[in-house]
């Protein structure tokens, strides 16, 4: 599956016009030829494709090959290397693997904190709304959720900067740094997720609260707290859990807009730049990494259903 993604991506990059070395300045043919030779672009496309495929999956290494990229181990008498996306074309001397390793944590930290915040805020709001259906709490939190969904982060971000960084001088306006620097991007990022989670929780809980097994639980005389926490919540948050897989993948992968507004060196920013720079190995590396990540997270989510809802069992 990941291989298919890589192949399609490779094809798309190749079809896209322009190269990584294009600039306003037209290069003399000799220099262009030197560049093509240096990066193996003078070989026929299918050779290039198979070289790329070999690097991305596994291949035996040449005797004299010294490399720091990828995963290396010995099979019999030959050394094998896997998952080597090579060096970035744009950033000379930096390997794709190290770039991903280096920038993933930034996105991951912001993404995970934002998602936790969204879970707490959104979950609480959703619960409140479901338990006090049609009350002022319900309408209030759902109105806020609606607002959170409809205000895009590229509007919310600048407003927060304006008020808290440039108006009140409470937090830095942008850039990576201490804990204070995290506040604005995390809040900006979590808003839409919190809103989504609030709505999902409310809907899920409302449905569960009306179901037969809750009536049974109440009928056998359990107190309301136990009913709520032990029985209802487990079923009610299933929609939230399904949402968590893709949402976490998207957050971990970096969110381009927030990363650019706050100038955070995360993976999303790098990904977009790599496409704009036509930095083929980097784009391929990130795409492959993300596709694996999405598959993995979805798998985890699928497995976790079984623990949450006794009605779901995997044979």
């Amino acid at each position: 599956m990941a291989l298919l993604v890589v192949t399609v991506t490779w094809g798309l990059i190749r079809i896209a016009p322009g190269t990584f070395y294009d600039s306003e300045k037209k290069l003399p043919p000799a220099i262009e030829a030197n560049i093509k030779k240096k990066y193996g672009l003078d070989k026929p496309w299918y050779t290039q494709y198979f070289i790329m495929l070999g690097n991305v999956t596994c291949r035996t290494m040449a005797e004299d090959e010294t490399t720091i990229n990828g995963l290396q181990f010995n099979v019999g008498s030959s050394r094998v290397k896997c998952f080597d996306f090579g060096d970035s074309l744009k950033y000379e001397g930096q390997s794709v693997n190290e770039i991903i390793r280096r920038h993933l944590p930034y996105s991951a930290i912001i993404g995970i904190i934002a998602y936790l915040l969204a879970l707490v805020v959104g979950g609480a709001a959703g619960l409140l709304a479901a338990l006090r259906q049609n009350s002022i709490y319900d309408y209030g939190s759902m109105a806020l959720a609606m607002l959170g969904l409809s205000v895009p982060n590229f509007v919310l971000g600048p407003i927060l900067v304006l008020v808290f960084a440039l108006g009140l001088y409470l937090v830095p306006a942008a850039r990576w740094g201490g804990v204070l620097n995290l506040i604005l991007p995390v809040v900006t990022l979590s808003a839409i997720y919190a809103a989504y989670i609030a709505r999902l929780t409310r809907a899920g809980m409302l449905e569960v609260m009306r179901s037969d097994y809750i009536r049974t639980a109440r009928a056998k005389g359990l107190n309301e707290t136990t009913v709520l926490l032990k029985h209802a919540l487990r079923g009610g948050i299933i929609p939230v859990v399904s949402f968590t897989g893709p949402a976490l993948a998207a957050l971990l992968a970096g969110t381009v807009v927030v990363e650019r507004i706050f100038s955070i060196p995360g993976l999303g920013n790098i990904f977009i730049q790599s496409v704009l720079n036509r930095d083929e190995p980097l784009t391929l590396g990130i795409v492959a990494f993300l596709s694996v990540l999405v598959m993995l997270l979805n798998l985890i989510v699928d497995i976790s259903y079984g623990f949450l809802d006794p009605r779901i069992r995997y044979e």
Binding site: T19, Y21, D22, E24, I31, I99, R102, H103, R175
Partner: protein
Amino acid sequence: MKDQVIRHSLSMAVIGTLVWSMTGCMTSASSRYFGTTTPPSENMLRYVSGGEPESLDPAVSNSQPDARIYMSMYDALIEYEPKTMEAIPSVAKSWEIGEEGTEYIFHLRDNAKFSNGSRITAHDFVFTMRRGFSPELASRNASLGYYIKYSEAYNAGRMFVKCGDKFLLKGGGTSDPAQPVDVHSFLDAPERLTVAGDEAGRAKAFEADKKMKDAAAGCEFVPVKAEDIGVQAIDDHTVRIKLYQPAPYFLGLLGHQFFRIVSKDVVEKFGTRWSRPENIVTSGSFKLLEHRPYDRLVVVKDPNNWDAANVHLDRIEFYPLDEQATMLNLYKSGALDATYNHTVPSSWNETIRQYKSEYQLHAENASEFYVISVKKPPMDKIKVRQAFSLAIDRASLALFKKTYKPLVYIIPFGIYPKYEEAREKVWDEELKKQGSSLAEWKAREFDAEKARKLMTEAGYPVQKSGSGWSCPTFPVENVSITYNTNDNNKATAEFMQAQWRQNLGITIPLKNMEFKTFLPMLNKVEYSGFGRRGWIGDYMDPFTFLYLYYSEGNESATGWWDPKVDAVLDEANKTVDEQKRYEMLAKAELMVAQAELTIPLAVPGTSFMKKPYVKGLYPNPGVLHPWKFVYIERDPAKWDQDANEIMKISDPQVDREVKNLMATQEEFKAKQSAQAPAKTLESIHN
């Protein structure tokens, strides 16, 4: 150089407008400075440098934002003067130029050191050059140095033709085998013939030149080697450079990143990974402390540097970001001290320019223009092209864009005063000969009446229609205005479209595309009609703008070439006398201008922000700052008051330092003229 403005493919219009319109409401222009204005507690500068640098290896990147970082980490033989960008001594304490203008001798100082403490010798510079031109490195900057003897041949993998013990010479004949082939006499000997390195290329050349084929029959082909290029170390502290032909701007060119010195030992030891933070060794006033890609690049003063006593900042933090709104937010909140050029969004210009002590708007060594694909009808008609050029109201454009000055020439004005004098003189004479006048040329800033007349003469009658004009016969479907996606470019394109509709009754469709898609289309002249273009000079000489139209494979992106212009340009560059050379360049400029290949629009302004306490950093024509002159002034009484006057007001500290640096060269020159001229040159040749 790469125009960094257009890299903002991601620049989100909405964000920019939103943030700025909002901060606008909150900022009262009555406050003297824009946001927080407190010097950083440490002795440092926080500077936004543009996109993430491609590499810390100065030979690799050809972009201007990266050049600014390289200027802190690498010294060259010369350095730019902070205001004028003229060459001042750096690693070379003095230099002399041979009478024919093809030979340069540099005398290196003894105390120049790399960041690891080892000495910078002439051999390091020679190595830097040999590496720069090597085909394996594939530097995109290599063509800048092609005037150096055999450098192009080496870079392109060409070969000498050796017949027995003689080499074939360029223009016929063979070399004298009796001549000893030590490096010095080799470079002074007549130029050898070089042919393509591959069979196919050679066959093609021989096909075209029968005589050459006969002469080369039975001869062997010897690759041009790194040792053959015209850069030599005479001894540890003397470098000699030999050019094919005089290039008066060559000295100033040596400040370009391509010529900045790297350590032979370190590069040889670590190969392509020498510039990684754990291996890097630098030659500049500052050395690398920390590099966190896409976040920060911190350099600190290098105590080993030969001029460390005159380096004022302890450190510089470069922040690689190119989102204009974000960087101005940071600037306003006091987390930044200065930004790079073209970083003030035009929607915000009105507010920003009220902060007179901070907004830097001076003429840049650059020009904004539209190119025309001159081979495709109807743009193949010169009158049509001229009509389109005349129908643009450049004064309005300048007013609209806010950072522009109207331009009717190929070479920008306000940068080369002496050249401009020569241009006035030559153009006046030439135009009078043609029955026109310089005044008439200057009126090209906007002349709708004449534009309509020309269009009608070209066979596309412009008629009155209602309150406007119409030109029904013009084949609009064959042309378009092509530009790369960017708010700024879009605004200009729409302005052009409106002007032509208003003044000629022709509505040209707009076509925008992503930068990397746009570039090959432009360079291969695959567009039809008009293309957006901007050019930033690579060095401080008018030729950097005329170079675009030089040679058959020229970079003008118009599909045009005229050998007659080449001849004048060659002649000009062979002329040592400055005044005469300028006159010849002016003649060439007129020839290019009259071919109507481009629609000159404007000289862009530097347009950047700098806190008033940052001193020694000037909006010079290349916006390239020699960082060692920069310092933080803590006494508010001495802060900058008016950025418009910043280039005129002298800073005693900066002036004194420049003067001290120039002293070694002045001294050398004085000694030279007292003794026999060109003594070193002579002693080398004997």
